[in-house]
C-alpha cells in the first residue's frame, strides 16, 4: 500500500470526524499500528480540528455546569432505587439498566466463584502432594541420620573398597565396629545388578597363605542415596569384598566377579 496516497485520500479526516464506515474505520486503525506516519497525520488533524473547535466557541449557560455536576455526583452518592411504576418515555430506564447490570453481576459472580473453587481444589491436592513429599524427605533424612550415627561410633573402623577391573569406577565403604563386630555398608557407587543376580559382601582372611572367605550377607540395593546397610557381624576380617552372585547367594564367592575390594 502507498501510505502517502492513503494519508492524502481524506481518510484521516474522515476517521477523526467519524465519517468512515465500520470497515474503513477498522482498516484505518490497523494501518495506524503499522504506519507511524499515519498516526502522526491523524494527531496533526486532530490538533487542528481541536483548535478550530475551541476558537470562539459558545459559552454554555452558566447553570449547566451545576446541573451536570449534580447529575454526576449525586448519582454516585445514592444507590439507584428500582422504580416499580413504568419510567416515563424518553427518560433513562433505570429498571432495565439495573436488571441488566444484575444479570451481568450474577454471571460474573458465578464465573468468579467457579474459578475460586477450581483454584481451591488445586491448592488442596497440591498441599497433599507437598505433605507426602515432606514425609518422604523426613524419612530419608531420619534413615541417613541413623546410618550416620552407626558409623560415627568410637572404635568404628572405616574401610574403603575400590573398584576392580570388573567395574573400575565403583566404590563402597565398610564400617566395622571392632568392639561389637557390627558391619555396616555404604554403597557409594555400584552398577545396578541384572535382575537375576545380587551383590554379596564378604570378609576376607588370609591364614597360612590360605584365603578364607566369610559370607556377610546379600545386599538388597535400594534406590535411596547414602543408604547404610546393616550386614552380618564379622568377628575377624583383614579385608572386605563385594561380588555379584546368583539370586539366592553363594556359600563361596565367585572370585571372577569381584566388583569392589579393600586391600588385604
Amino acid at each position: 500500500m502507498n501510505i502517502k496516497e492513503y494519508i492524502s485520500s481524506g481518510v484521516v479526516e474522515g476517521y477523526v470526524l467519524g465519517l468512515l464506515t465500520a470497515q474503513e474505520r477498522f482498516e484505518f486503525e490497523q494501518y495506524c499500528e503499522a504506519y507511524p506516519e499515519l498516526k502522526e497525520a491523524r494527531t496533526a488533524f486532530e490538533l487542528a480540528l481541536e483548535k478550530q473547535a475551541m476558537e470562539n466557541s459558545i459559552i454554555p449557560p452558566a447553570d449547566l455546569r451545576q446541573k451536570i455536576a449534580s447529575k454526576i455526583f449525586d448519582e454516585n452518592k445514592t444507590a439507584p432505587v428500582i422504580p416499580i411504576q413504568a419510567t416515563p418515555p424518553g427518560k433513562f430506564n433505570w429498571a432495565k439498566f439495573v436488571a441488566a447490570a444484575s444479570v451481568i453481576l450474577l454471571v460474573g459472580a458465578i464465573w468468579w466463584s467457579m474459578n475460586l473453587k477450581n483454584e481451591n481444589d488445586k491448592l488442596k491436592s497440591d498441599n497433599v502432594a507437598l505433605q507426602n513429599d515432606l514425609k518422604n524427605s523426613q524419612d530419608s533424612i531420619a534413615q541417613i541420620i541413623a546410618g550416620a550415627n552407626h558409623i560415627q561410633k568410637e572404635g568404628m573402623k572405616m574401610v574403603g573398597l575400590n573398584g576392580t577391573a570388573n567395574s573400575p569406577r565403583s566404590f563402597a565403604t565398610v564400617y566395622w565396629d571392632t568392639a561389637s563386630h557390627d558391619v555396616y555398608l555404604l554403597v557409594n557407587n555400584l552398577p545396578k545388578p541384572p535382575s537375576d543376580e545380587h551383590y554379596q559382601l564378604w570378609a576376607l582372611l588370609k591364614t597360612n597363605n590360605q584365603l578364607q572367605t566369610i559370607d556377610l550377607g546379600m545386599l538388597q540395593l535400594s534406590q535411596k542415596p547414602l543408604q547404610v546397610y546393616k550386614m552380618t557381624n564379622a568377628r575377624e576380617a583383614q579385608a572386605f569384598a563385594i561380588t555379584l552372585e546368583k539370586k539366592d547367594g553363594n556359600p563361596d564367592p565367585n572370585l571372577q566377579k569381584i566388583y569392589v575390594m579393600s586391600d588385604l
Binding site: G10, C32, L49, N56, A69
Partner: protein
C-alpha cells in the same frame, strides 16, 4: 479524597471542553433547550464511559466531540424531536435550514465557520454527512447522484476542509 479527585477531573473536563462541546451540539440541534438537554446527557455519558476511552485511537477531545455529535444527531432524529417539529408549519429540512440561517452566531464559530469557506456543493455534503449524520447511501438518494460519486465528492470536500483547518 476520591470525591475531591472526581471534582478536579470534572472541573478540568468542563473548563476545557464545555464550550467546544456545547457549540457542536448547538450546530446540530437548533432548539436551545434541547441542546442544553443533550449537553447534560453528553457530559454524563462522557463521565460514565471515560474508562472506555482508548488513547491509542485518538485524542480525548476527538472522542468527546464524536460522543457529542452522535448524541446530537440521535436527538434530532428521535421521535420526540420530530413530533415536536411537526407542530411547526415547515417541513423538517426547511426548519433545519431556517435554524441554520436564523442563528448566525452558531454558524459563525467552530467547525461551521470553516464550512462557509467551502463551495456550495462541498458545504452541502459536509453538512449532510457530518452535521446531519446522513449515510452516503442516504445522501445519494437525497441528492439523486450515484453512491460512488457521493463517496468521491465527500472525500474531496473533506480534503478541502482540511486545507481550511490546517
Amino acid at each position: 479524597m476520591l470525591n475531591e479527585q472526581s471534582n478536579d477531573a470534572f472541573n478540568y473536563l468542563y473548563d476545557n471542553y464545555s464550550g467546544a462541546i456545547y457549540t457542536i451540539i448547538n450546530q446540530i440541534v437548533p432548539d436551545k433547550d434541547m441542546a442544553s438537554d443533550v449537553m447534560q446527557e453528553v457530559f454524563v455519558n462522557i463521565w460514565r464511559k471515560i474508562n472506555t476511552y482508548d488513547a491509542g485511537k485518538g485524542r480525548l477531545f476527538t472522542w468527546m466531540l464524536n460522543i457529542a455529535r452522535n448524541a446530537s444527531i440521535d436527538k434530532v432524529r428521535s421521535k420526540g424531536y420530530r413530533d415536536n417539529q411537526k407542530n411547526q408549519p415547515m417541513t423538517e429540512n426547511e426548519s433545519r435550514g431556517m435554524a441554520m440561517s436564523t442563528n448566525p452566531m452558531v454558524n459563525d464559530v467552530g467547525l461551521k465557520k470553516v464550512l462557509t469557506k467551502l463551495n456550495e456543493e462541498h458545504r452541502k455534503l459536509i453538512d449532510l454527512s457530518y452535521f446531519q449524520g446522513f449515510t452516503h447511501e442516504e445522501i445519494a438518494k437525497l441528492m439523486g447522484i450515484p453512491l460512488g460519486t457521493v463517496k468521491t465528492r465527500i472525500r474531496t470536500a473533506i480534503i478541502q476542509l482540511r486545507k481550511m483547518i490546517a
